[in-house]
Symmetry: C2
């Protein structure tokens, strides 16, 4: 009796507080609707709109010319207004299993799908997301497997003279045993922050699933904020947020590379970790890939596993002649030392249409010249999260074996 009345009242509160504490964006429209054949229909009620489009990584890309060659932009599809001001678009073909993100463009203004409760934030952008289950989609989903924990903490960086926010994944069981674990430092790109790999990167889901399947060793994954001009993601700091794009990097007291010892010290004194280079891995995407190659070269004999995703492993090498030869040569000298010290895996991954592709190829030529061993994985596609998620799922199983 009591239980029934509480349920009824909760429902009543929901409906009325919907009015009082506006819960914006509700709708009876179903969007996206994933059909049985894996085609997908997108819908938006916008009776006053003149033009409604959808863009996202589920659409065929379109080629764009740039100074670095042509590369791929997410495609755009037009929705048609069918009745009562409801606009609709259905993909002509089935979508492959994947996590997809998309946004509507209504008369030029981008907005997330008000009918889709699933959203992921990537710094300044909120995208609506959906998963087509099966292959990759299952890897990125929350499944009925043991889950690790994700903790947001602050560590002190004496080098940068500040406290900085950090995201840490500990594997299932960490809190309830006495084991020590190896550590994988996973670094974001110039458009991200300490939330990037957890959000669009699906790190917690990927690690939970790989560990449950016995494909990856249980490990601690450490996700830093790689922008020295910020100390945390925008809502988690009292400092004015300085975007990498537009504002440009602010001069800091030291570089991320120089301060990375502070991160490692924090982790190794606050977690039960296995030490020694064979228990440390570092990888990153784009800017984080350059950070990974630079840090693994700078901290001699510290990492046995290095991953460089969608970035030139000769840090910051955009092509054969940029940056200047002496900068490239200085880095190659560090690689020679790294080669002498030894490592187990130096994994380079890049998409064939990535705008940094040339820098990756040129880097590998230089590495070949000095006999610096690496494993190269070339995928299709470009500088996008679908590649970075799958690179993570390929790299993690090779660690700590």
């Amino acid at each position: 009796m009591k239980k029934i009345s509480i349920l009824a009242v909760v429902l009543l509160i929901s409906v009325t507080s919907f009015a009082q504490q506006a819960l914006w964006g509700g709708s009876q429209i179903i969007s996206p609707e994933i059909h049985e054949n894996n085609t997908v229909t997108f819908r938006l009620r916008a009776p006053k709109a003149v033009k409604v489009e959808v863009t996202g990584d589920f659409l065929p890309t379109q080629k764009i010319d740039t100074p670095y060659g042509e590369f791929d932009m997410p495609g755009i599809a037009e929705l048609k207004e069918n009745k009562e001001g409801i606009w609709e678009y259905t993909t002509p073909e089935a979508l492959a299993s994947e996590l997809y993100s998309y946004t509507f463009i209504v008369d030029g203004l981008r907005m997330n799908d008000p009918s889709n409760i699933k959203m992921i934030r990537d710094v300044a952008s909120i995208t609506s997301v959906f998963i087509i289950s099966g292959d990759k989609g299952d890897l990125y989903s929350v499944n009925d497997v043991p889950h690790g924990s994700v903790t947001r903490r602050w560590y002190n960086s004496p080098t940068l003279k500040e406290n900085r926010r950090i995201t840490i994944y500990t594997p299932p069981g960490y809190e309830n045993n006495k084991q020590s674990y190896p550590v994988f430092y996973l670094l974001h790109g110039s458009g991200g922050d300490e939330e990037a790999w957890i959000a669009l990167g699906r790190t917690a889901q990927i690690m939970d699933n790989l560990i449950a399947q016995g494909k990856a060793k249980p490990m601690i994954v450490v996700m830093t904020n790689g922008h020295t001009q910020n100390n945390a993601s925008p809502d988690e700091t009292n400092r004015a947020y300085i975007p990498a794009m537009g504002g440009g990097p602010r001069e800091a007291v030291a570089s991320m590379e120089d301060s990375f010892g502070d991160v490692m010290k924090f982790i190794e004194t606050n977690y039960r970790v296995k030490t020694g280079k064979n228990n440390r891995a570092i990888a990153g995407l784009s800017m984080g890939g350059m950070h990974s190659s630079a840090i693994s070269a700078q901290y001699a004999n510290t990492f046995d596993y290095i991953g460089v995703f969608s970035a030139p492993p000769i840090a910051a090498m955009m092509g054969a002649s940029y940056p200047a030869a002496e900068v490239q040569d200085a880095f190659v000298k560090k690689l020679e030392t790294q080669k002498k010290n030894g490592y187990k895996l130096y994994w380079i991954a890049c998409g064939s249409t990535d705008f940094l592709y040339k820098g990756v190829i040129e880097s590998m030529k230089k590495m070949d010249e000095i006999g610096f061993k690496y494993t190269y994985h070339e995928s299709g596609g470009g500088h996008t999260w679908d590649n970075w998620r799958i690179y993570l799922s390929q790299f993690a199983p090779m660690l700590f074996n």
Copy 2:
């Protein structure tokens, strides 16, 4: 030399990957612009729009008639198109120190402010936010004080026969000492989930600041998901998300109240906690307030501190005659037992325009009849986060003294 070139390249990557991996929503417009006198200007570029409005809790509320009496809705203000399709609205008066949330309405479609990187998600809604510093605004800000950690974990509930996601705040220093801490269970309303108190509730910031000021004892704060029809927030589960509103609660194998012992057991076996009723507090807003009163009555002699925010403390009592008298009487019997067992603080807080105000008043009449002691705090305003944040900041300092 190397450093300069990396910075230049990062900038280059930012600009180009801005194109390739579309970072949607960038803009050169400044919005919101907080002026020195604390008036605020909102701006949106929307050259094709016919009408642009802004709604949010910074605007004077408007009265709405409902079956429960009149209550307050967020106001709406119209922006004016001034040039180049840029719409603008400036508040006529200075805004008091607070965290405000708002959304634009463009020809009837709600969207967050593409120029404002600060956003908070509350289940289905993303709102743009800004803080006016000074009084309350400083309490909700990340300040240069020691920060606690926020961990998302999964616990097993044998009662609900599933694993469920949970958010846990541990106070600064928890990881680096051997102390035990009291525990505060903090429950969300029908529109929320295990992210609600951390996001719009600003729990981590409020607790960090109160602890740093010596106003609150260091404590562990536990934030559950109070909907038995869901086991996690929408993006963190493989189950179809069932909203409290619209879909309505799905029948579960047990109620949240019945399963709460699983939560306490998980916390007390996984964290260094002080046990005994004088080291346990429970509070919640709206549905979570009803859960708090129900749980503190159901688990005899377990909580010394109970907080009921914006909800009738006679669980689910909407008025003098609803629910039925026998349901109310059954709950009053439990209160008589709770009174006999004793407690240190039973704190009831409600806004004078809250649509549940009558239920709160009627509940207290019944409690008076049996001599059940409580402290009542009546604020202005209604069923909104600005009240819940300040209630938290008033309740936490009274705990564990």
